[in-house]
Amino acid sequence: MNRRWLAAVLVAPLLGTTGCAASLDIGAPPGRVPSCPVSGSWPSDKDVPPTVLMAQAVPTASWLPCIAALPAGVTFESVDIRSGRGRIWLDSGHEGRHAIRVTLTQQCEPTGVVEPGPQPGMARYVRADRTSTRYRGDWDHVFTGGCVNYHFDLPVKTGETSMAAIAAGLGFVRRDAVAQWVSDDSDGRLDLDPPDKEEGTP
């Protein structure tokens, strides 16, 4: 085996490692589901990092979106988290790819009918449009230091009931619960937020 072949054999696994998920749109695997804690603790420690990152994306948010139990046919697609915004994409077997989008931001401009939110101190603004074929709309959840928007685009026939089931499967976790997990996971050596910042405040 000459040197060039030897080098190729050594390089191939490296390129394979980096290129295994290569796709034309420079995508990546979906990653772990940002799960909600059950009875105060997460099913697996591996489910927390997306929520930690979400908390870092919007350092003011007192609540963070998570997934509790999605109805049959609705699946987690991916997260897209960057400074200032965290997003969760859901697919629906019937309604298609990216049928539901959950977005956390620091602020939003909610409109629509106000309802009590699913968590204390949270208000939900609901607006929906029906066309002959589609049921589209946004639910904005406004709370201290943040806003979580559910955007959906579903078939008109089943849209309303589907959205109610999906919303029931989505949830919120308090920021201090995530901060507590970070602290516990590092035996108290690390914190989620800088020391001079109070949780859930801008």
Binding site: R4, A7, A8, L10, V11, L14, L15, T17, T18, G19, C20, A21, A22, S23, L24, D25, I26, G27, A28, P29, P30, G31, R32, D45, K46, P49, P50, V52, L53, Q56, P59, D80, I81, R82, S83, G84, V182, D185, S186, D187, R189, L190, D191, L192, D193, P194, P195, K197
Partner: protein
């Protein structure tokens, strides 16, 4: 040596990633260690230093990386350095998407417990912006910067830029220190090894000299190999190797070789490599797509077969008493990769397009075609560059496209092209009058019915155009009889399938290329 070092580092980095993916304790330990370093940087934060760090971190932003990529793309396209471009693209896609895949797998948060002062995206390990920056800068060094002092200096500059960007991103808490370090190691290693393996400098040097990309550099190790080959295989001791007539040759690298003797003499050699084989394939594919299969458009599948065919054709024409250079044989430079075809050199010969053409030259040119017809041969590339006038004698060179037992159409094309070449320096009427002594009117009429556009070599077409004359039309007007044009378009299932495949591939390439050009790489 440095490649092996970087490879070892990259393997170590991959090992660390595997450990982090498997061990929560390792993750926590690294988080704590990183936090200590990050906190040290955070304690240094001041207004002016933060402003400076934002500037130093700027190379690792989407806009800057896109600018690096686009500049490289333009340079590589202008200089037609396709091999480098392909490796560049491969490395870019592999590093960007591979880095993202690793980040999603490891799911490491951004620096904990500190305020992040600049924008970020996605999980932190490895630092995708620094990894891609390292890869892009290394690609730039190996694809755009010539080897030698310039590249060595470039490596120093790249090192400084990466170090400053890594420090700045750590200061701004965009990355943990280990995210930055491991990202840079991987980002350097992948392009370094990819270019050294897939586009080594010896075979694909980065130069900005003029010349066709098909021409090989005959300096360095290749020069030595050619000299050894000539001596060992043909008993020719070369004292000097010089590129010769590069402007007239796209299919090989022509050389003028001075050979030791009493006195010294010169031979002509054509160096063929896989690059030329690929050129031959693309040329024939292009012709098949544009015109259908114009006889024998099948490409050669090895360099050895390509040179064997040229040497064989030369000997065949010589055996048929045609005035061609004396063949010396073939020299194997690198088995199956590079070969040299060696033949007689005519030191004072002139291309027929530059020589004085009298009746004797016209007669020799026409007799040459007559002889090929009688011997059942066609040259298939009759043009001024392939007809030399040496001591009042016409010599036919470059028989690489020659064909045995060609169709009458192909033979007719040879005749018309020869008459057009001869008329470039004389008059159609004079050439026609001489031609009628060797060919009948029907044969000449058929020749001009068969010859137009693609069937004329591009050099001949260019020279005719440069004269501002319609030589073909002048000949046809002089002919006692005219025949309807022979159509060259040949439709077959193969051509249709090939055309559809090429169109589909082109569309796919555009679909792939547009996001690569328009979108930020991170």
């Amino acid at each position: 040596m440095s490649g092996v070092l970087w490879l070892c580092l990259a393997v170590l980095v991959a090992g660390i990633w595997v450990l982090l993916a498997l061990s929560a304790a390792a993750r926590t330990a690294l988080d704590v260690a990183d936090h200590a370093v990050t906190q040290w940087f955070v304690d240094l934060r001041t207004g002016w230093l933060t402003g400076l760090m934002k500037v130093l971190a700027a190379p690792a932003t989407g806009a800057a990386l896109q600018a690096v990529w686009l500049v490289n793309l333009v340079v590589l396209v202008i200089w037609r350095r396709w091999r480098h471009l392909l490796v560049w693209l491969g490395v870019g896609v592999a590093v960007a998407s591979g880095g993202e895949a690793i980040a999603v797998t490891l799911q490491r948060p951004r620096p904990l417990g500190v305020e992040i002062l600049a924008s970020w995206k996605g999980f932190a390990m490895p630092s995708l912006p620094l990894m891609v920056l390292a890869a892009f800068l290394m690609c730039t060094l190996y694809a755009v910067v010539p080897a030698g002092h310039t590249r060595q200096y470039g490596k120093f500059v790249v090192g400084v830029v990466l170090a400053l960007a890594a420090v700045a991103r750590t200061y701004l808490a965009q990355d943990n220190p280990s995210d930055a370090l491991l990202g840079v190691v991987f980002g350097v290693t992948v392009p370094l090894l990819a270019f050294r393996v897939l586009a080594p400098n010896d075979a694909f040097p980065v130069t900005y000299r003029r010349g066709r990309t098909a021409h090989l550099d005959i300096d360095g190790p290749r020069n030595v190999a050619i000299r050894h080959g000539l001596e060992d295989q043909l008993c020719l001791i070369a004292t000097e190797l010089q590129p010769f007539g590069l402007e007239g040759s796209g299919g090989s690298t022509p050389l003028r070789v001075t050979v030791k003797g009493d006195p010294d003499y010169v031979v002509f050699a054509k160096l063929y490599s896989q690059t030329h084989l690929r050129s031959d394939r693309w040329y024939k594919l292009g012709r098949t797509l544009l015109y259908g299969r114009l006889e024998d458009e099948k490409a050669f599948n090895t360099v050895r077969r390509l040179v064997q065919y040229e040497d064989y054709a030369l000997r065949l024409l010589r055996d048929a008493d045609l005035p061609v250079p004396r063949p010396y044989g073939i020299v194997e430079i690198t088995p199956e990769r590079e070969y040299l075809v060696v033949m007689e050199f005519f030191p004072d010969a002139q291309e027929i397009g530059n020589a004085e053409v009298d009746d004797a030259i016209i007669d020799q040119g026409l007799a040459l075609v007559r002889r090929m017809w009688d011997a059942g041969l066609a040259h298939r590339d009759i043009k001024p560059a392939n007809l030399l006038v040496h001591e009042g004698r016409v010599v036919l060179v470059d028989p690489a496209f020659a064909q045995v037992r060609p169709s009458p159409w192909r033979q007719a094309v040879d005749l018309a092209n020869m008459m057009l070449v001869l008329a470039l320096r004389t008059e159609p009427a004079r050439v026609l009058a001489r031609a009628r002594r060797l060919f009948n009117d029907a044969e000449i009429a058929e020749a001009f019915a068969a010859t137009r556009g693609i069937t004329m070599p591009s050099q001949l077409r260019r020279m005719v155009r440069a004269q501002g004359r319609d030589l073909h039309g002048e000949f046809v007007a002089l002919l006692p009889q005219a025949l309807p044009r022979v159509h060259v378009q040949r439709w077959s299932l193969r051509r249709i399938t090939l055309s559809v495949t090429v169109i589909v591939l082109f569309v796919l390439a555009v679909i792939v290329a547009v996001p690569l050009v328009v979108n930020s790489p991170i």
